[in-house]
Amino acid sequence: MRILVAIVLALASLAAIAKEATPTELDPVAERRAMVLAAELRCLVCQNQTIAESNADLAADLRREIRVQVDAGKTDAEILDFMTARYGDFVLYRPPLKATTVLLWFGPAALFVIGFAVLFRVLRARRARAAEDRPLADDERRRAEALLAAAGEKERT
């Protein structure tokens, strides 16, 4: 029993420590906003992770920077502008639609449409060829008749 009490007390004290360790500078709503923004931004050191996921030093600095700006009452657009002014459109996982990004946005869809068009044309050409009604050439007719005659002979025997 005494051991049990000791364990419960030990766990309770751990919980108290854990609570203290959470960042308290932001309220939960602002914290969530900062995390959503961090998940929109690419970490330029590792390139395939968001700032929210990355363990890179720069990502940690930028997470802190986002928190500071959220705390200062900046809007999401202002914070994203701050980042693109420094790191370019490349930091945005959803880059803006511009002349230079048209291919990026519509390229895959365009390739899909082109692929479908090619497939459609190939299939139609194949069907047209199959449906083509061509009379048998003389030698073909002779071969066909020979085959039919041979088959008829077999049946009779």
Binding site: L44, V45, Q47, D57, L58, D61, L62, E65, T84, A85, R86, Y87, G88, F90
Partner: protein, 175 residues
């Protein structure tokens, strides 16, 4: 004939794209700073912590801002190129010591040579963020009006120095 020519042409086009893609460096992200004024900063000097240096102190000069750190492996590779450049005295170099311990930074310069007119300390990396630094070393070529004209991401190679940075610096010097 057409049946084979068109797929062959498409395949060759794909090969060309893939080949070009192999040669591109994904770390070289186009900088949004080219043609824009260098972000303002004022930081303590590495060797004289009581004195401060601001980017506007270099107004009227063409200069190179080099971001470096003693923990940065690629900086060591770049360093001899900068030391060599400093000897020519054609282009002043200012060092931005990025997220580093001043003691380590000074020891590093004492060991490998100090090509910098002066270095400033950016211990928390805040000025680095303003300059969009993401891979040390990085270098910015800044003109007389304080506008960034060129950014080198990663070490300055002798080739980049001779073919891009110095010719551009000479041109900016004239204007």
């Amino acid at each position: 004939m057409n049946r084979f020519l068109i797929p062959l042409a498409a395949f060759v086009a794909l090969l060309v794209f893939l080949y070009v893609g192999l040669g591109l460096n994904p770390r070289e992200v186009p900088s949004p700073f080219i043609g824009k004024p260098a972000p303002a900063f004022e930081l303590a000097r590495l060797h004289a912590p009581d004195e401060r240096f601001a980017q506007k102190d270099m107004a009227g000069k063409v200069w190179l801002l080099n971001v470096w750190a003693s923990w940065c492996v690629a900086c060591r590779e770049e360093h001899p190129v900068l030391v060599e450049l400093a000897k020519r005295k054609t282009l002043p170099i200012v060092g931005l010591n990025y997220k580093d311990e001043p003691a380590d930074a000074k020891a590093w310069l004492a060991r490998f040579g100090d090509p910098y007119q002066l270095s400033v300390t950016d211990r928390d990396g805040r000025v680095g963020i303003d300059y969009g630094v993401y891979g040390v070393p990085e270098s910015f070529l800044i003109d007389r009006q304080g506008v960034i004209r060129y950014k080198q991401i990663g070490p300055i190679t002798p080739e980049a120095l001779e073919k891009k940075i110095l010719p551009l610096a000479r041109e900016l010097e004239k204007s």
